[in-house]
């Protein structure tokens, strides 16, 4: 069969010497963004907190220079603001690198990554409609999941102050 290529599990193993010579993605991020804070949950799950102004630089570094794939993003409404996690997967080592940025509640804005990375397009639209985070520069920031419904604007179900139906009934 033409073009069929089989790779056994665990193979091809990366050359340990080459891996040793190459700086890891974390040290590369540290050089790029000195204020980055790294938390290692375990060797395969790394969380890097960065200031939101440097998000595009960090994402471009991980995707273009380290060849990582964007798995998805998670937006969380916390006490300090909207925490947005960009989950990058390094498939050669099976490690998840998660970039953490914080968008304050009075100015929930983050630079759009969809301008240069199509994989971020849908998830940014989803976070925009479910959490109300703005992504300036996004090519098409219309609702993704509620576009064909009569869902009211300015109602964000994943925010903590969202009024649940059962609460409304009790009143």
């Amino acid at each position: 069969m033409n073009g069929l290529r089989l790779t056994a599990n665990g193979l091809p193993l990366p050359d340990p010497e080459a891996v040793g010579r190459q700086p890891s993605a974390v040290s590369g991020l540290k050089v790029l963004i000195p204020e980055a804070e790294v938390y290692e949950h375990n060797p395969k799950r790394l969380y890097v907190t960065i200031p939101r102004e440097r998000l595009t630089d960090a994402a471009k570094y991980l995707h273009r220079e380290r060849g990582m794939r964007l798995s998805t993003c998670t937006g969380i409404d916390t006490r300090d603001g909207f925490e947005v996690l960009y989950h990058f997967s390094e498939d050669s080592t099976g490690t998840m690198y998660t970039l953490k940025v914080l968008a304050p509640k009075d100015d929930p804005k983050l630079d759009s990554q969809a301008t240069w990375f199509p994989a971020a397009n849908w998830i940014e639209r989803e976070m925009h409609e479910l959490l109300g985070i703005d992504f300036p520069g996004h090519p098409n920031l219309i609702p993704l999941l509620t576009s064909d419904t009569d869902w009211e604007e300015d109602k964000y179900p994943l925010r903590r102050d969202f009024e649940r139906r059962s609460d409304a009934h009790e009143q």
Binding site: L4, T7, A8, K44, S71, P118, A119, S147
Partner: protein, 392 residues
């Protein structure tokens, strides 16, 4: 551009589980652009999940998809275990792998059957689904259900595989192996099927990387990724198997990859059953400490991703779910451009979205109905018939 027409596909069909709306923009017979709308089946799982306990959540996420009903709970319990630092016992790991691979076989056979139906080979459809039935019977024997198996719980699995069930699983694996080889040969040897699938809906390697697609949409485009090998979980690092990578990126490569993956799955199941270790099937989980966890596994369609943030209580603070079709369907925009309208249904189907929706189409021209879903299916079948006549 007066010659541009819109061909809407979807969104609703009584058979489909994930309604999607594809707006094909065509010039004559050629598709020039595609707009995708999703959200018709948005059930708010991420909203409901924080109200449930960690023991209840696997039952909720199991119902995200009827076909991948083992992948979501598995990724979810892996996320909880990652957060709490729990290692399930070896026997549980092997049982998880066996059930997960059985699910891959049934899902890929389902896809092969439907792809056959779309190009007018209803015999392929009937035969593929007939052999899928054996797998569903195995599920009923092992888990008690043909669908929604409820096998995974944080710390292990809920049911054991009994010794007397093992010969029966081996017997079904022999049947599946034989019949899949027969189907593979039938698909590869038939010149008409070949010319319907070859060079259609090509997704290049660069596009696959830019759209971050996963699973059997990425691997036939030369992207060598598989979460089972890259981020080992369950028993995937204990048994020998291969990752199927092809380079053409067209629908034929995607078909080949899926058929060959079935054979690899039967290999994994055989090896797991052979070395099935003794011992308990679950570890006790006393508490999930504050923190966060990521769980991912290779579903039949690609990487399933679950993220859990815990505050130390028995419910998560946030639970993020990302199914593989979320990334794969978006890549249709580039795969379908430049193709003919007769190939559109097949190209959209090639990423294996839950795509019964492709049947429900209607094309309007100047306010009048021009094509219905049945007409588009007939267009596709007519092309196959034309090719058959040319060959004859």
């Amino acid at each position: 551009m007066s010659s541009r027409r819109i061909v809407p596909i979807g969104p609703y069909h009584p058979l489909q589980e994930e309604p999607e709306f594809f707006k094909l923009i065509v010039e004559g017979e050629t598709v020039v652009d595609l707009e995708i709308n999703i959200g018709y089946n948005h059930r708010g799982h991420e909203f409901i999940s924080p109200e449930l306990t960690y023991d209840q959540i696997p039952f909720l996420v199991e119902r995200i998809c009827g076909i991948c009903s083992n992948s979501h709970p598995l990724a979810c319990v892996l996320a909880v275990e990652d957060c709490a630092g729990i290692k399930p016992p070896p026997r549980a790991n092997y049982i998880r792998s066996i059930v997960h691979e059985l699910e891959r076989i049934h899902s890929h056979l389902l896809w092969v059957g439907l792809a056959g139906h779309f190009i007018g080979y209803n015999t392929v459809w009937m035969w593929a689904w007939r052999y899928r039935e054996h797998i569903l019977e195995l599920f009923e024997m092992i888990t008690g259900n043909r669908n929604h198996y409820a096998m995974n719980k944080p710390g292990g699995v809920r049911r054991d595989i009994k010794t007397e069930q093992i010969p029966q699983i081996f017997a079904v694996m022999d049947v599946v192996d034989k019949k899949v080889m027969m189907l593979t040969k039938a698909v590869l040897d038939d010149p008409v099927i070949r010319s319907r699938l070859e060079g259609v809906g090509v997704l290049t390697r660069e596009q696959a990387i830019a759209y971050s697609v996963t699973g059997p949409t990425a691997r036939p485009s030369g992207v060598d990724i598989d979460v089972r090998r890259d981020d080992p979980h369950c028993a995937y690092d204990c048994v020998p198997w291969n990752v199927i990578v092809l380079n053409e990126g067209d629908v034929l490569a995607k078909t080949k990859a899926r058929l060959l993956e079935i054979v690899e799955s039967t290999r994994i199941i055989r090896a797991c059953l052979k070395d099935l270790p003794d011992g308990p099937i679950e570890t006790r989980v006393d508490e999930v400490p504050p923190g966060e966890g990521i769980g991912r596994t290779e579903a039949p369609r690609g990487e399933v991703f679950h993220y859990i943030r815990s505050d130390g209580s028995n419910r998560p603070l946030r639970h993020k779910v990302r199914a593989p079709s979320y990334m794969n369907i978006a890549s249709n925009v580039v795969a379908i451009k430049g193709g003919s309208i007769a190939d559109a249904a097949l190209t959209l189907a090639a990423v294996d979205p839950c795509y019964c929706c492709t049947e429900r189409m209607a094309a309007f021209e100047d306010g009048k109905l021009r094509f219905t879903g049945k007409d588009l299916l007939k267009l596709s079948w007519a092309k196959t018939e034309r090719l058959k006549e040319q060959r004859a």
